[in-house]
Symmetry: C2
Subunit: 169 residues, 2 copies
C-alpha cells in the first residue's frame, strides 16, 4: 500500500504504472487519515506529477492539466499552486528547490526530510531515506541550533547517464 524507499526504482527500468497506482492509493489513505479532501483537481495534479520520476515545474503541470481536461479553459497559476501547497502539506510531494520543480514522495505518511539524488543529464530524481547525518547533528548541537527541517539535494549522474557518458567519452 505505501511506497517504501527500498522499492524506489527511479534509476531502474520498471513498470511505472505501479508507481502511479501505489502513489494514488497511498495519497487517499493519507488524506483520509488527515481528514483532508483529495479532490479531483488534487488527484489530477498528483497524477501528473507521478507521470515520471522527474521533477516537474508548476507551469508544466498547468499545461498537462489543460491537456487532461480538453474543452475546458486553461486553468490559471493559482489553481496549480494551491494544489501543490496542499500536496506539500500532506507530505505527498516534495519541492526540489534547485530546480523550482515538484516530485512525488516515495514514502508519504511517514515524517522524513527531503533527500534526493538528482541526475543532471536526464533530471531523474531518486528520493532516499537516511537519518540525519551524525556530523550535521554534531554541527547543529555545537552551534546550539534547533533543527526544524533538512533539505539535501545531491546532483550528479545516474547509472544510465553515467554509462552513456563513458561510452561516448
Amino acid at each position: 500500500m505505501s511506497v517504501h524507499s527500498e522499492d524506489n526504482q527511479a534509476f531502474i527500468d520498471h513498470d511505472h504504472s505501479h508507481c502511479i497506482e501505489d502513489a494514488l492509493v497511498a495519497a487517499r489513505a493519507v488524506c483520509a487519515t488527515n481528514g483532508a479532501r483529495f479532490t479531483r483537481l488534487r488527484e489530477q495534479v498528483l497524477t501528473i506529477i507521478w507521470a515520471s520520476h522527474q521533477p516537474i515545474g508548476a507551469y508544466a503541470i498547468l499545461e498537462l492539466l489543460l491537456a487532461a481536461n480538453p474543452g475546458q479553459r486553461k486553468p490559471a497559476p493559482p489553481t496549480v499552486y494551491r494544489a501543490l501547497d496542499f500536496l506539500l502539506q500532506q507530505g505527498l510531494v516534495h519541492r526540489i528547490n534547485s530546480l523550482n520543480a515538484y516530485i512525488g514522495c516515495t514514502h508519504p505518511g511517514s515524517a522524513h526530510h527531503s533527500q534526493f539524488l538528482i541526475c543532471t543529464e536526464c533530471s531523474t530524481a531518486r528520493e532516499f531515506d537516511a537519518g540525519l547525518p551524525a556530523q550535521l547533528v554534531h554541527e547543529a548541537a555545537g552551534a546550539d541550533f534547533q533543527i526544524a527541517s533538512v533539505l539535501l539535494e545531491v546532483t550528479g549522474l545516474c547509472p544510465q547517464c553515467a554509462t552513456g557518458r563513458s561510452q561516448h567519452g
Copy 2:
C-alpha cells in the same frame, strides 16, 4: 587570511567588520590565484553580500548598489547577476536555493559543498564544513550514482531566536 569554518560566528555576537575585511582579502587572493579580475563592481557586490550573515536577494543587492553609487543610474538586473555568477564561479559566495538568495562563503578557495544552518526567524545563515555523510555516500553507491555536488540546507532556530521564543511562549 582565509576564513576558516571554526571561526564562523554567524550566530554569535562579534565584530563583523573583521568578517568583511577577511572576506575581501581572501577574495583578492582567490582571484589572483585564478587569474580572474576582481573589479570594482564585483568587489562592491561581494561587500554588500558580506554586510551581514543573512542571505540577500539579487534585487536587494541592486538597491544597495544604487545606494553605494549615488548619482549614478540604477543598474539593471544583469549587472548584479553577472557579478553573482562570477562570485559563485570563484567560490566566493553560495546560493541559498530555498531563499533565492546569496551569502558569502566562509572558506573560499577550498573545494567544498554548500551546507548551511538557516534560522527561520532572523534568517541568519551559518555555513558549516562537514564531509559527505556516510549514509549519503552509501545511498549513492547503492544506487550507482556519481555525486557531482551536494547542497544541504538545514532550517530551524538559531540560539538567539530559540531563546527569545522560549521566553515568550
